[in-house]
Amino acid sequence: MSGSLAALIPLGLTDPLTGVLGLPLAGAIALAMVPNWRHAAVLNVVIAAATFASSLRLLSARPVETSLLFIDDFNIYLVVLTAFVGCTTALFSAAYIGRESKTRRLASRHLRFYHSMYQAFLFTMLLALTANNIGVLWVSVEAATLTTVLMVSLYRTREAIEAAWKYFILCSVGIGLALFGTVLVYLAAQPVMGDGAAAMAWSQMVRRAGAFQPDLISLAFVFLLVGYGTKVGLAPLHAWLPDAHAEGPTPISAVLSGLLLNVALYALLRFKMLIAANGHALQPGPLMIGMGCSSIFVASFMLYRRGDIKRLFAYSSIEHMGIMTFAFGMGGPLANFAGLLHMTMHSLVKSAIFFAVGLIIQATGTKRIPDIRGLTTSVPVLGWTFVIAVLAIAGLPPMGIFMSEFLVISSTFARNALLAVPVMLGVLLTFGALIWRLQGMAFGHPGPLVADGGRRFATAHAIGMVPLVAHLALALVAGLYLPDALVKWFQAVGKLLG
C-alpha cells in the first residue's frame, strides 16, 4: 500500500514539508469553524504567513525524497513563490473582503466558507507542486479545480454561477483526459519500472524514461497536453478562464492567474521532461509551440474587444501562458530559462495587477473599462502603481518580464526567425491593446468615485496596497538582478526540460 494517499500521514514532524502542507490543511479545517469573518480573515493571513515561513525552511534543508513527495530544483522556488503569493493574497483579501461584506455582496457564512476554501486551495496547490507521484499530482490538481469552482461561484449571481458551471464542466473533462494520460504514462513505465508506486514516482521514472515505450508516452502526452493545457488556459481550451477570473472575487482571480495556471503548466512540464528524456518519443516542442502561438494570437485580438477590466487581464494571462508554453516548446537553455523566469514574473505581476484592479473596482464602483477614467488624478498612488504594473505586464523594462521576453524572442529569432514572428506580432498587438486601455483608465479627466467609507476603508485600502507594492518591488528587483541560486536552479531545470 505504499502507493496510497494514506502514506502521506506518517510524515515525520521534522520534515519541513509537514509545515508547508500541514498548516494549510489544518487551516482549512480550522477556518471552517470560525464564525466571525473578521477573525477568520486575520487567521487566514496568519496561517498563510506561517506556511510561507515554513516554506522558506526548504531553501536551507531539502527533505528526503519519498515516492510520494519530493523537492527538487524545479518545484522548490515554485513552492516558495506559491506560499508567498498565497500569503500576500491572504493579506489583500483581508483588506478586500471586508469592503465586500460591507457592501452586502457577501453574507458572512459565505465568507466563512470562502476562507476555509482559500486554505484548502493553497493546500492542493502546494501538494501538487511537491508531489512526486503523478497520481498525487493529478489528485491535487483536480482538488484545486473543485475548490476554485466553489470560490468562483461565491457571489451567487447568475453570471457567477454560469462562469462556475463553464469552468467546472470544461476543467473536469480536461482533468479526465489528464487522468487518462497519467494512466498511459503508468502503462509505459510499468514494463520498465515494474508494478507499483515506482512506476508512478516521477523522480525515478525520469532516470529511466529512455527505456519507456515511446509511442505510448507520445500518446500519453497528447492527452496530458489537452488535459492540463485546459487548466493552463491554452487557446482553444481557454474558454473557462476569462469568465472564472471575471466573476469570482478578485483575490481568487489573483490566485487563479498567479498560482493555478502556473501549477497546471508545472504539471505539463514534468511530463515534458519525461518525454524529453526519451529519445524516440514524439517531439513535444511543435505541439506546445502551436498551442502557445494560438493562445497568444487569440488573446491579443480578444483584448481589443474587452469592456470588462478583469476579463481584460484574464486574457492577458492567456497570452502570457502562451508565451511560456511557446518558450518551453522552443526549448534550449535560453528559452527554458526565459520560460521559468516568465512563470515567476507573471505570477507576481499579474496577481499584483488583480490586487490593483480589485482596489480600483472598489474605488470606482464599476468594472466597465469605459467608466474608469483618470485614475492617476483621482487616486494618485493606486493609479500610478496600476500604471507601473500594467507597463510591467506589457513587457517594458526595468521589470522582469522584459528580460524573459527579451531572451525568448532574441534566442528564438536566432534559431528560427519564422517562429519568432508570430510571437512578436502577438506581443505587439497585446501591447497596443493594453496601452490603449491603460491610457483610457489612468489618464484623462477623472471619473466619479463611490462614496468613501471613512477611515476604516482608508486603512483597508492602505493594507491592500502593501502586497501590491511588494510584488512590484520584487518584479523590479528581478528585472535588474537575479540571485545566483535561482539562476542555478533555472539552468538545471532548463537542462532537464531539454
Binding site: W165, L170, V173, V222, F406, S410, A417, F443, Y481
Partner: protein, 666 residues
C-alpha cells in the same frame, strides 16, 4: 567613473522631484543642468584624449545573470555624449525658467532626469540587454512626458501611437541583436563584433536595424508618431525628443551597422539613401503646410533625419566599394549634421516654448510682430532658422555642403542603381534644402514679423533670463560651428576613424579652406566668407553713409496707397504656403481648397476652407488598424459560445492531436 555617478545622481533627482513635488523643481532642473554639463565635459575630454588613453569597460552585477551589465565609452559614444548632453544642458537651463509654466509640472519634473538618464544609458551600454533596457526606458519616460498634459485627447492619442511605434522599433532591434548574438546568446557587443553571420542573417540584421532605429528617428514612413508626440510634450522636452532622442536612434544605427556589423552590402546603403531622400523631401513638405509651430518643427526633424540617413547610406555604399576616404567623408558629414541639428532644433523648440509662454498660442496665425516684443527670442530664433535653412556662414550649411560633396562623388560607386539613383536623391535633397528655406522664412516671418495677429501676440513680453540664456548660447554655438568647419571636421574625423579605419584629412588646401576630397574637387571656407563679407559690409556702410543721407522718417505703411489697418489682411501662414500647396500639396496630401463666396449683395464674409490628409496615415496606418479591427471582430465571438461549443473545440483539438500521433506512428 564619472558617468556612472552622474547617472546615479539623475536617478536620485527623479526621487527628489517625486518627493518634494513642485517645491524642488528649480533644484531638480539645476541638478539636471549640472549633470548634463558634467557628462558634456566628460564627453569632450574623451574626444580630446581620444587615442591617448583607453577607457576601460565597466561590468556591473545586474542584467542577464550569466552576462552581467557591460558599459563602455568609446570615441563614438563620447561624441554622442557631447551631441546629446549639450542640448540637454540647455533644455535644463531653459526649464529652470520654464518648468513652472507647463500644464502639469508635477508630472514632468520627475521624469525629465529619468529621460536624460535613459538616453545616456543607451550611449554607454556595451551589451544588447543594457542597450535595449535603456532604449525602452527612454521610450517609457518620454511617453509619460508626452502624456504629462493628459487631459487633452490629442496628447493621449499621440502617446498611444508613440509608445506602440516605439515598441515596434524595439521589436525590430531585439531580433536584430538576437541574430547578432546567435542561439547561444552572446549579447556582449564585443562578442557580436566577432560574430560571423550567414548572408541572409546579415541582411536581416541590417534591415531590422534600419527599420528599428528609423522608427525612432522618424524615418518616412515610420514617422507618423513623431509630429504627434514631439509637439504634445512640454517644449523643453520636445527639444530633447526632437533634437536629442532622434540622435540616440542614429547612434544605435551607426553602432550596429558600422561597429557591430563589419560588412554591409552597398545595396543597403542605397536603400538608406533613398529612404533618407524620401524623408527629407516629404518631411519638409509636411512642415511647410503646418500652422502649428511645434508640429512644423517636428516635421522639419523628419527632414533632417532624412539628410543624415542619406549621408549614412552613402558612407555604407562607399565603404562596400572600398572608397574608405569618401566613406569617412560621408560619415563625418552625417555626424556633423547630427550635432548641428541637435543644436538648432533644440534651440528652435526652446524658442517655440518661449513664444508659447509669452503668448500662450502655438498657431502661427495668432502670432506676429514678436521680434519687436521679444528681441532675444526673436534673434535666436532667426539664427536657428538661418542655420536650419543651411545659409552660410552658419553651421547648417557646412554639413549640408559636406553631404552634397559626398553625394556628388557617389557615382564613383560604379553600379547603375547608384548612378541613376544618386541624381534623383540629389534632386530630392536639393528640393528639401530649398523647401526648408521657404518653410522657415514662413515660420519666422509669420510668427515674428509683420503686425501682431492676436491680442496675445500684442501683449507678449520677453521671457526671463535663464530661458534667454538657454536660447542665446546655442545661437552663438551655431555661428562658431559654422565658421570653423575645418577644426570641427578634424575632430569628427578622429571619431569615425575606428569605424572606417582611415583618418579623413578635411583641409587639403590648409587651414581655413575646407576641402575634404581632393585639391581640385571643391572647397569652402566659412572663415574667409565671413571675413570678406564683413569687409564688404564695412565698405558698403562707409560708402552709403558717406555719399548718401542718413535721414530716416517713420511713417504709416504705404502698401501701394491702399493700406488698411486690418491685421488679418496680412499674409497668413496658409496663404504663404499656398503656391507650393497648389503645386505639391494637391498631389501629396490631397489638399483641397474650398472658397464659399456669398451671393452678390449678401454681406456675409467669404469663407475659405482647407482640407489636407496625410496619405501615409490614411493608407498605411489606417490599413493596419482596419485589419486588426476586422480580425478582432472575427475572433471576438469566441467569447460568446455555449459550453457545448467549447467542449467541441476541446474535442476537435484532442482528435486533431491524436490524428497527428496516429499519422506519425504509421
Amino acid at each position: 567613473m564619472i558617468i556612472g555617478t552622474v547617472l546615479a545622481g539623475l536617478l536620485c533627482l527623479a526621487l527628489v522631484a517625486l518627493i518634494f513635488q513642485r517645491r524642488a523643481m528649480g533644484a531638480v532642473y539645476a541638478g539636471c543642468l549640472l549633470g548634463a554639463s558634467v557628462l558634456l565635459g566628460d564627453g569632450i575630454y574623451h574626444l580630446v584624449m581620444a587615442g591617448h588613453e583607453e577607457i576601460p569597460a565597466v561590468v556591473l552585477p545586474f542584467g542577464v545573470p550569466w552576462l552581467k551589465a557591460h558599459f563602455r565609452v568609446d570615441a563614438l559614444s563620447s561624441f554622442f555624449l557631447v551631441a546629446i548632453n549639450l542640448p540637454a544642458a540647455l533644455a535644463s537651463l531653459f526649464a529652470i525658467g520654464y518648468g513652472g509654466h507647463v500644464p502639469q509640472p508635477q508630472r514632468v519634473t520627475p521624469l525629465f532626469p529619468l529621460f536624460l538618464f535613459a538616453m545616456n544609458g543607451v550611449l554607454v551600454a556595451d551589451d544588447a540587454f543594457v542597450f535595449l533596457v535603456s532604449w525602452e526606458f527612454m521610450s517609457l519616460a518620454s511617453w509619460l512626458l508626452v502624456l504629462s498634459d493628459h487631459t487633452s485627447a490629442d496628447a493621449r492619442r499621440a502617446g498611444l501611437v508613440y509608445l506602440v511605434m516605439a515598441m515596434f522599433g524595439t521589436f525590430c532591434l531585439l531580433p536584430a541583436f538576437g541574430l547578432l548574438a546567435g542561439p547561444s546568446g552572446a549579447y556582449g557587443f564585443a562578442a557580436m563584433r566577432a560574430a560571423h553571420l550567414s548572408p541572409l542573417a546579415g541582411a536581416l540584421v541590417v534591415a531590422l536595424a534600419i527599420v528599428g532605429t528609423g522608427s525612432k528617428a522618424g524615418l518616412v514612413p515610420l514617422h507618423a508618431w513623431l509630429p504627434l508626440a514631439h509637439p504634445a510634450a512640454p517644449s523643453h522636452v520636445s527639444a530633447l525628443m526632437s533634437g536629442v532622442m532622434t540622435k540616440v536612434a542614429i547612434y544605435g544605427l551607426i553602432r550596429i551597422l558600422y561597429d557591430l556589423r563589419g560588412d554591409v552590402g552597398w545595396e543597403w546603403g542605397f536603400v538608406m539613401m533613398v529612404l533618407g531622400a524620401v524623408s527629407a523631401a516629404l518631411g519638409v513638405l509636411y512642415a511647410l503646410m503646418q500652422r502649428d509651430l511645434k508640429t512644423l518643427l517636428a516635421y522639419s526633424t523628419v527632414e533632417n533625419v532624412g539628410i543624415i540617413f542619406i549621408a549614412l547610406g552613402l558612407a555604407l555604399a562607399f565603404r562596400d566599394h572600398g572608397e574608405v576616404a569618401l566613406s569617412a567623408l560621408s560619415l563625418v558629414a552625417a555626424l556633423y549634421h547630427v550635432v548641428n541639428h541637435a543644436l538648432f532644433k533644440s534651440m528652435l523648440f526652446l524658442g517655440a516654448g518661449a513664444v508659447m509662454q509669452a503668448t500662450g498660442v502655438r498657431d502661427l496665425d495668432r502670432m506676429g510682430g514678436l521680434l519687436n516684443r521679444m528681441p532675444v527670442t526673436g534673434v535666436t530664433f532667426l539664427v536657428g532658422a538661418c542655420a536650419i535653412s543651411a545659409l552660410p556662414p552658419l553651421n547648417g550649411f557646412v554639413s549640408e555642403w559636406l553631404v552634397f560633396q559626398s553625394l556628388f562623388k557617389a557615382p564613383t560607386v560604379a553600379h547603375w542603381a547608384m548612378r541613376f539613383g544618386v541624381p534623383v536623391v540629389g534632386v530630392a535633397m536639393a528640393l528639401a534644402a530649398a523647401f526648408a528655406a521657404t518653410c522657415f522664412v514662413r515660420a519666422f516671418g509669420i510668427a515674428f514679423l509683420g503686425r501682431p495677429r492676436s491680442e496675445a501676440a500684442r501683449a507678449a513680453q520677453e521671457v526671463p533670463f535663464p530661458m534667454r540664456a538657454a536660447m542665446a548660447i546655442p545661437a552663438v554655438l551655431c555661428l562658431c560651428l559654422g565658421v570653423i568647419p575645418v577644426t570641427v571636421t578634424t575632430g569628427i574625423a578622429n571619431v569615425v576613424e575606428p569605424l572606417v579605419h582611415v583618418v579623413l584629412s578635411p583641409a587639403v588646401l590648409g587651414w581655413p579652406w575646407l576641402s575634404p576630397v581632393s585639391l581640385t574637387a571643391g572647397s569652402y571656407s566659412a572663415t574667409m566668407v565671413l571675413l570678406s563679407g564683413a569687409g564688404l559690409m564695412i565698405t558698403t556702410l562707409l560708402v552709403v553713409h558717406r555719399f548718401g543721407t542718413r535721414a530716416i522718417r517713420r511713417a504709416p505703411v504705404w502698401d501701394c496707397g491702399h493700406a488698411e489697418d486690418i491685421v488679418n489682411a496680412q499674409y497668413s501662414a496658409d496663404s504663404f504656403a499656398q503656391p507650393l500647396r497648389r503645386v505639391f500639396g494637391s498631389v501629396v496630401f490631397a489638399a483641397r481648397e474650398e472658397v464659399e463666396m456669398p451671393p452678390p449683395g449678401d454681406t456675409a464674409p467669404a469663407r475659405f476652407r482647407l482640407t489636407m490628409t496625410d496619405p501615409i496615415w490614411t493608407y498605411l496606418y489606417g490599413g493596419i488598424v482596419k485589419v486588426v479591427d476586422a480580425i478582432a471582430d472575427r475572433v471576438n465571438p469566441l467569447q460568446f459560445q455555449t459550453v457545448r461549443r467549447y467542449l467541441l473545440m476541446m474535442f476537435l483539438t484532442l482528435v486533431l492531436l491524436l490524428l497527428v500521433v496516429a499519422v506519425r506512428q504509421q
